[in-house]
């Protein structure tokens, strides 16, 4: 038994039976803490590393829990029969799993040791070394490219995108499989030109053949209220099906396979 099993970290949720974030039926482990503050984020309780209280349906709910890798993997393993039948496994999400990179590394390593397929959902916003050592233990990287324009990226996410784009190139070189994901956010990146620019960038990455367009939704809105924060997206409607179809056609015209949703 290696020491990684005792590594501890902070999560805020575990969700079973997800089919949107990686192949097959998956268990998503949501890690707490993120370096970005995307305006549209539907999990605002994920952003701060601190343990918080959020009001939910009139009740206080504690967000954040410290756990060991062993505890997590034991729980994830309960759905092994479903992973076997569907080609699924564990997905690390967040927050940003790179913000707790030792914990994430240990989780991925121990998952592979337990014959569990692994995926990560990431912004790619960290030093490449952190990412690099994880790659041998990741079967699928799902990486967000939100915008190719760094200024606009910073305006909406609080961080510039140069490091993200550089990391994307390196990850593409070394990952077993990389899928690019784009949250389609009205007023931010929902024009055909913007999606085309992202698609072209994605296409330029080595081995990348697939892009996923995730339409904006406002399901996270109540959580902002529950945390005593203002929801900056207002009453912005979700993109229509027709618009998503148009954007999908744009991505396909750039030579990529494209799925709407994960």
């Amino acid at each position: 038994m290696n020491e990684y099993w005792n590594t501890s970290g902070r999560i805020f949720d575990i969700q079973k039976f997800s089919v949107h974030d990686g192949p097959g039926i998956r268990t998503i482990v949501f890690l707490k803490g993120c370096a970005l503050r995307c305006r549209w984020c539907c999990n605002p309780e994920s952003q701060s590393y601190e343990i918080q209280t959020m009001m939910q349906n009139g009740k206080e709910k504690v967000i954040g829990k410290d756990v060991t890798v062993r505890e997590i993997i034991d729980d994830v393993k309960k759905d092994m029969p479903y992973y076997r039948r569907s080609g699924g496994g564990m997905t690390l999400s967040g927050g940003e799993m790179l913000c707790q990179s030792d914990f994430s590394y240990a989780l991925l390593r121990c998952a592979k040791e337990s014959a569990i397929n692994t995926a990560v959902e990431t912004t790619g916003f960290a030093s490449y070394e952190k990412i690099e050592r994880m790659l041998p233990y990741i079967d699928t990287v799902l990486m967000d490219i939100k915008h190719v324009d760094s200024k606009k990226h910073q305006e909406f996410t609080t961080q510039p995108n140069e490091r993200i784009l550089e990391n994307a190139v390196k990850i593409a070189e070394n990952a077993k499989k990389l899928i690019i994901r784009v949250p389609v956010i009205p007023t931010f990146n929902d024009t055909e030109a913007e999606i085309a620019a992202i698609s072209k960038f994605a296409k330029s990455l080595k081995g990348v053949t697939e892009i996923n367009l995730l339409p904006y939704h406002s399901f996270g809105r109540d959580k902002y209220e529950g945390l005593g924060r203002e929801y900056l997206m207002g009453d912005l409607p979700s993109p229509t099906d027709e618009q998503m179809q148009r954007l999908k056609a744009v991505a396909i015209s750039c030579g990529l396979n494209c799925k709407i949703g994960g």
Partner: protein, 842 residues
């Protein structure tokens, strides 16, 4: 190997016309059958019971109306009215007479009855006074059994009031040799009878009765042939005239002889299906492996170029419509327990053949298509799944599931086959199993399964534990101790086991009494002619003529008992936050919460009865006042808060259905308190008992008879359905719920288990949704789960259907082991379905 065709075939206009016609009227009660059999029985007083039954059956076959409706290709009805029903006074009739005035307006399964019909039935019922199976069964029960029934510990109402049914005849044999063939077989066996045989009197007359029934069935078909010929002669539409001529030719040949074509096979099948349900009122007459025994006729016609796949599909669709034409009126309580005018005709596709190879063929796919085409609750379509089930068939089935119709139900060969072998079935027979009614596996054509023999409410013995065996002032169960005696959890759990054992024994007494009554008063020679080895043994199925004989009563409420006892163990014995007295006090006071109207009414009736029994007069105003007081559950505010705090505490405790070993494995122990005692017992037909774990839809009405329970369930509210978690308590998604359910021992529950899952339609969206759905079933089955069924309708849709039933006349949902039209269900059952946890995690 044959290439299997999987492509969809479109639905024809004829099918929609047949459906529209079928649903154009209100279900109506008719009296012709009751009049005919009563007249016959009057004329045969003093004769052998077999002869009396066969003569009555012959009279029906000669006199029941012959009705051929427009556009029909498959013919045969037992009522004038569309979805009409006949009555069966020989089993019971008092309840119907008492409900004449309310049957048209009741909430579950209303039926129209004309004043004229009611009067005719009243007249007929006079003859049956003292002659029904129901009355005889009651007289055979021990006094303590009657007390337990009166106190709603269990009910054997199904067979107590009706025929047994729950059988799959040997359809294949009729298709092959016809009733002429069966007649010859019975005749040959009769010739072997020697006048010196000890069983000559029963054997000889039973076989004579079988022969008469075979001839009578042939007569019935010939009347259809004659009618079709006459209609053809008067028909100006040349196409229809041709169809009627074909119908006439077919009905001349089948079911008298072996079927020569697929069309004849379909017609022959239908006559068998119809006539079994004319001989007796038993429901769940299950066609079983239709795709297997029909296949040779399909294949022969297809290969010979005599039929196209499109024509075959239309014939199957016609059979499906016919299966929805049968109807049955039940007493008000049973109607709630089996709500939705359901006939539970379970038809199963796929699975292994007797040699263990995959049995999937064209018809497996076409049966699924037929259910898509008709979009109606019957047949209760099921699918056998094993490790070798083709993925294509799973996808086809998932597409049907996706429509929200609640079909098919999925069954796991990998656990059912060994479970049946453990009950004494030969390997080949176990591999050839079909499913009866809701979820009950058996080898069709060889079994009298007596599935669905009783509903045993596992929560009521728990209530008895809290009251030292007393219910409403009567010592119903054994004295298992006062609360202060239970100083360890083990002692408390032992007391529960004692209450279970005792009451299970009484349930067995009740079932055996009913069994003996059917044996004595209602042997069924027509059905028995198609159940191996009745003819060989010279005994009706009701007397043990079948090769395999079982009694399968079902327990339910595992999740509630497990959650409740787990909570008590934690709060009373481990953390000691509460005393057992405090818990008992809270339960008595419904956790300080108000009662539902229906439950308050029940309590009021009890109170009024008690006052009246003491000889006091009581006025209407006083009754209203009692009701008002009970409804308010007016208790002191401090106490109320205390009880409610306990309720809140219980709500936070781990619950069955969330993949938490500690509580799930305790659930496994709780299930054993039912399944293990049951399998000790024997029935009068020489067979054994084995348990099922499913409630049909009785978890709602029987919940109304149950007080608050320590899992936080309030008085009068529904009990958990089947082996499913309690409604709303499984919050960790479908895999966690399925894992919990898989931790129960399904192998021992060889009479079937029922696991309901509800999905939001978005969960099955796209190819990835379908694939994940299939993986979910496969992985649950890898863990030896037995059965799974799904409702795929959003909560919003169901709510809207409650408000605007007129817009949702065709909305079919999964209730329990069957599907039904949502708008025909009672409000409380609708609510129960809406409240089942919806899995939308995709």
């Amino acid at each position: 190997m044959n290439k299997v065709y999987t492509a969809d075939i479109p639905k024809t206009d004829r099918i929609q016309k047949l459906i529209d016609d079928l649903y154009s009227g209100t279900p109506t009660i008719e009296s012709t059958r009751a009049e005919i059999i009563t007249e016959s029985h009057k004329a045969t007083e003093g004769m052998s019971i077999y002869i009396r039954k066969s003569k009555a059956f012959r009279a029906l076959m000669e006199k029941l109306p012959v009705v051929i409706r427009d556009d029909e290709l498959i013919v045969g009805c037992n009522s004038y009215a569309r979805r009409g029903c006949q009555t069966f006074p020989e089993f019971s009739n008092k309840w119907l007479e008492e409900e004449f005035d309310t049957v048209a307006t009741r909430s579950a399964d209303p039926f129209y009855i004309s004043e004229e019909t009611a009067n005719k039935l009243r007249e007929v019922h006079k003859y049956w006074e003292g002659r029904t199976t129901s009355e005889l069964a009651t007289s055979y029960m021990a006094p303590e059994t009657l007390t337990a029934i009166e106190h709603n510990i269990f009910t054997v109402g199904n067979y107590f009031y009706n025929g047994i049914g729950h059988v799959s005849a040997d359809y294949g044999k009729v298709l092959k040799i016809g009733f002429n063939g069966i007649y010859e077989y019975a005749k040959a066996e009769r010739e072997k009878c020697k006048v010196t045989d000890s069983d000559y009197a029963t054997r000889y007359y039973f076989l004579t009765a079988v022969m008469e029934c075979c001839q009578a069935a042939i007569t019935f078909a010939k009347r259809y042939a004659q009618a079709a010929r006459e209609m053809a002669a008067n028909c100006t539409d040349i196409t229809r005239r041709g169809e009627l001529q074909t119908i006439a030719e077919i009905c001349e040949n089948v079911p008298a002889n072996g079927a020569k074509s697929f069309h004849e096979a379909c017609q022959s099948f239908w006559f068998v299906q119809l006539l079994i349900q004319t001989e007796s009122s038993g429901h769940s007459i299950s066609p079983g492996r239709f795709d297997q025994y029909m296949y040779p006729y399909y294949k022969k016609d297809l290969d010979a170029g005599k039929i196209t796949r499109e024509q075959a599909q239309e014939l199957i669709d016609c059979v499906w419509v016919k299966l929805n034409s049968l109807n049955k009126v039940r007493d008000a309580l049973s109607a709630e327990g089996f709500a939705g005018y359901s006939m539970f005709q379970n038809l199963i596709v796929g699975g292994q053949d007797t040699s263990g190879m995959d049995a999937t063929n064209d018809l497996s796919y076409m049966c699924i298509s037929a259910s898509m085409h008709v979009n109606l609750p019957q047949p209760s379509l099921s699918m056998r799944v094993w490790n070798g089930t083709p993925h294509d068939l799973m996808v086809k089935a998932a597409e049907l599931t996706k429509t929200g119709i609640g079909l098919p139900a999925y069954y796991n060969d990998e656990i059912i086959i060994p479970a049946l072998i453990s009950r004494g079935l030969a390997l080949e027979d176990a591999r050839d199993y079909c499913v009866i009614g809701c979820v009950e596996p058996q080898k069709g054509g060889k079994t009298d399964g007596w599935h669905d023999a009783a509903f045993f409410n596992m929560l009521r013995p728990l209530e008895l534990v809290f009251n030292n065996g007393v219910d409403k002032g009567v010592q119903v169960g054994p004295k298992t101790g006062r609360l202060e005696d239970f100083d360890t959890f083990e002692k408390l759990f032992d007391a529960y086991k004692k209450q279970m054992d005792y009451n299970i024994g009484l349930m067995v007494n009740a079932d055996n009494a009913v069994d003996a009554a059917h044996m004595e008063r209602c042997p069924l020679p027509f059905l028995s002619s198609m159940v191996t080895d009745c003819i060989g043994r010279g005994k009706s199925a009701q007397e043990g003529g079948a090769v395999y004989n079982f009694t399968g009563p079902q327990g339910f409420g595992i999740a509630n008992v497990a959650d409740g006892l787990y909570a008590i163990n934690q709060l009373v014995y481990k953390t000691k936050e509460y005393t057992l007295h405090q818990v008992a006090d809270a339960l008595r006071n419904n956790f300080g919460m108000s009662y539902s109207e229906a439950y308050a009414k029940n309590l009021t009736v009890d109170v009024v009865k008690e006052i009246a029994s003491k000889g006091y007069e009581i006025s209407g105003d006083q009754i209203s006042e009692i009701f008002a007081q009970i409804s308010a559950n007016d208790i002191e505010e401090g106490k109320k808060k205390e009880y409610q705090a306990l309720l809140e505490k219980i709500k936070t405790m781990p619950k069955f259905g969330n993949d938490i070993d500690e509580v799930d494995l305790f659930g496994r122990e709780v299930a054993y308190t039912y399944t293990k005692p049951v399998e000790k017992y024997k029935n009068p037909r020489g067979g054994r008992y084995h348990a099922g774990l499913y409630p049909v839809s009785a978890n709602v009405p029987l919940g109304l008879q149950t007080g608050a329970t320590p899992d936080g369930r309030l008085a009068g509210t529904p009990i958990a359905d089947g082996v499913s978690p309690a409604a709303g308590s499984d919050v960790n998604g479908p895999t966690a719920a399925a894992n919990s359910v898989a931790k129960l021992d399904h192998g021992i529950a060889s009479n079937g288990t029922l696991f309901n899952m509800k999905f939001h339609p978005s969960a099955l969206k796209g190819a990835s949704g379908i694939e994940a759905f299939i993986s979910l079933i496969r992985a649950f089955f890898d863990q030896k789960g037995m059965h799974m069924q799904f409702n795929v309708v959003s909560r919003e849709t169901l709510r809207d259907a409650q408000l605007h039933p007129e817009n949702y006349k065709n909305l079919v949902v999964r209730v329990a082991g069957y599907s039904a039209l949502f708008t025909t269900l009672s409000k409380s059952l609708q609510d129960d379905i809406i409240n089942r946890t919806e899995q939308g995690g995709f």
